[in-house]
Structures are given as C-alpha cells and as structure tokens.
Symmetry: C2
C-alpha cells in the first residue's frame, strides 16, 4: 500500500523525505490552476522560475513571460496570473516563462523528488488517475501564502487524499492528511460560503481579480497532467 503525506508549506518541505516520492505541487489561487489552463490551451512548455531577475533575463532574450508578485502583474511581464489570459491564441504552441509569489517557489522547492507534478481542481481526476498508476508514495505540497498555511490548497489536498484513500490503493499516518480530508469534508458542499474564510479570496477581491475563483474550484476542465522534466513543465 502506498502512502500519502501532505505538506502545508514549502517552508515545511525539508522536514519530509521526498526522494522516492511523487510530489504534487498545489497552488489553487492561482499558479497551478493557471498552469493547467495553459496546457489545456496548447502551451508547449513552461519554465517555472523563482527569481524575478531570471524572469527578466528570459524576457530580454525574447521569451513570453508571465510574472506576478502579491497578485499583480509586473511591468516587464507579458501577462499577469489570471487563468483567463491564457487562450489558445496567447499560448498555443509557445514556450512560457513563469514566476509567481508562491507557486513557482513550491515547484522549485519540490525539485529533488522522483517526480514533480502539478495538481489543481481543474485536472483533479487526471492527477488522481496518474497517481494511482505510478505505485509510488505521494507527497502533496501546498504552496501556501508566503510560507504560511492556506485553506484553498489544503482543501484540494484533502479532496485528492480522500479520493486516493477511498480507492483503497493508498493509506496514511500523516496528521496533515487527516486534517486536510476533514476540512474538505466540512467545505465541499458549501464552497460558495466556505470561500469567505480564505484570505487569498479577499486579497484577490481587493485587486479586482477574484473573478477567477469559481473557475479555479471547477473540477476536471482538463485531462492533462503537467510534470517537471528537468527545469521545464511539460504534459503527459
């Protein structure tokens, strides 16, 4: 029986042994939802970069750059971080360089795992199926907010853990998994009201960017599973 763990922040990741595990990076609002959307709409590959200097250097070399900090698009970037920007017209067939406040940091932190993949409600059934096929232990890495715990990534971790455990192919001894599953059970039938507890919802609302929330909590908009291949995300 394979094991599931949940890690609530990239800051906590060094406390987990990830060497022979599949790491699922989660940043529901908004990086992993954006990544799934880009692949759905035909992006060729995505280079997640942690540092803005690196993102700027790519821009100077002519790459399409998506860069955001604290929710807002940076001046030098081509796009900010709303999934709605990424249509077949804007990203189809292209290489994108991508840097965000939390999500790309989590991808970078998870890099030593045997496989790093991208999870969101948007590819929920696809990522669950992928994990069930791999027969490896799974570590769900929540991007959180500037190192802190966040609810929306935890709810996804709970939904995914519950699905994998219900199928009888995974179990857990991880307190974080139980917490995430219990929170998902509390929230799942009333997401419209539960979302009011989510600090990131209010941050996005202040910026006029909360129109993406309903979409980011939609299940199975795509059947694609982005995975890290060297320093770029590609799709299986």
């Amino acid at each position: 029986m394979n094991k599931i763990e949940v890690c609530f922040s990239p800051t906590l990741f060094p406390h987990s042994d990830s060497a022979d595990k599949i790491v699922v990076v989660v940043d529901i609002l908004r990086a992993t939802s954006v990544i799934c959307t880009m692949f759905k709409n035909g992006v060729k590959e995505i280079f997640p970069v942690r540092d803005l200097e690196e993102a700027q250097a790519y821009k100077q070399k002519g790459f399409l750059v998506v860069a955001e900090r604290n929710g807002q698009k940076l001046d030098f970037a081509d796009f900010g971080n709303s999934p709605f920007y990424f249509t077949p017209e804007t990203v189809g067939g292209k290489t994108v360089v991508y840097s965000t406040t939390n999500g790309t940091n989590a991808i970078t932190v998870g890099r030593n795992a045997s496989v790093v993949t991208i999870g969101a409600f948007l590819n929920f059934s696809a990522i669950a199926k992928f994990l069930m096929e791999q027969q490896k232990d799974v570590l769900i890495l929540c991007a959180g907010w500037k190192g802190k715990f966040c609810l929306e990534d935890t709810l996804f971790a709970g939904a995914l853990s519950a699905k994998l455990i219900e199928r009888g192919m995974f179990d857990t001894k991880c307190d974080s998994v139980y917490a995430a599953m219990d929170l998902w059970a509390v929230a799942k039938d009333s997401m419209d009201t539960y979302i009011e507890k989510v600090a990131q919802k209010h941050r996005l609302k202040k910026l006029g960017l909360d129109d993406v929330i309903g979409y980011c909590f939609s299940f199975d908009v795509t059947g694609l599973v982005p995975v890290l291949d060297g320093n770029r995300l590609v799709c299986r």
Copy 2:
C-alpha cells in the same frame, strides 16, 4: 478588536510578526500539559532548554532535570515526560530544568514575543481569561512534531480561538485559525475516536506511554497560567 493567528509549527514561526503579540505555546502531548501539571503541583520555576548538552550541564550542577527525546526519558535525566511523574512530592517548591523533543524548542523559538505563555486543555479557561485581559494580539504557536503539523495542538488552537472569538473580543483573517476551529468543531464531541487519527497517540502507545492521553485532553485541571520571565517559566 484584537487579532488571533495560529502558527502550525515552530518552523513557520519566522513568517509571522510576533513582536507585539502574546505567544501561546502549545504541545498537548505532552510538554505544555506537563508544564501545567508541574505548576499545579507546586513547582517553583521551570527552565526550558533546547539542547541536551545544556540540560546535562544543569544536571551536573545538581538541578532536577526532566529530559525526553522521541517520547523516551534520557538516561542522565531524573524524569521523563509523563505528567503523572510530577506530584507535589517530586516537584513542590523546586526548580526544574526541562528539555523535550518539540515543546521546549517552541518555547525557545517564541522568545522574541512581547509575552510568551503556556497553553493546554489543562489550563484552558485560565489561559482564555488571561488573553482576554491583556488586550493584545495573540499568536498560538503549535509545537508540532519535529517541525511538522500535528493534530492535537491544532485542536487546542481551534478550541481556544473559538472561545476568544465567541466572546467578541477577537477576530481573525488567518486561514490557520479557521482551519483549527473547523477541525475542533469536527473532533470535539468525539475525541475518543478522533484521537485515533493523531500520530503522536500511536507513537506514545508503542512506548506504553499513552495512558496520559485522557488526562491531557481534560479541561481546567488548573487555574494557573505559566509565563516566560527571562529564561524561566513562572506562574501568574
């Protein structure tokens, strides 16, 4: 209105600004339950020390030393970490040097706060009353397990947050507080079964030390509130 935050691990503590806050350190199984028990039974003061070398040096100077790692008493120590060891006969009027796997680390990490205090179910109403009197923002610091999230400290954080918010003197914008309160709401009426999810319960059971669990989840065994005064815990 004062604010409440919860921090799920000492590793996450640097992400929070604690300078003008009251930090409530929580390690339900078992350090903060043990500390409350020692004060209930008349200990004069407790020196929490993080390093074993420091604890050993105190022992050589003739101090009464309580030291545990991974649940088990260390050879050089006078006592391990069960609250049942600490009767008026063993600790009444004495100075105790105390070092444990998680709890004393959390106390050390929290030291820069304006006030550091000790919370447990055993002094629940007393700590809640103390916090309501102080009119400062509160940060509940869960000791966790070797830097990881743990359920039992989170449940306490949820119970305490709910009590403070219900009284109308505190509010929150912290996802961790909402998560902790929701988990406490799930668990509180079925702690006997919910405890099976808690990894530390199973660790203690393996060592034959799980006889303390019912006691550590008992409310209001003492009305005392231990606070850090320099490098020692004393009682108010």
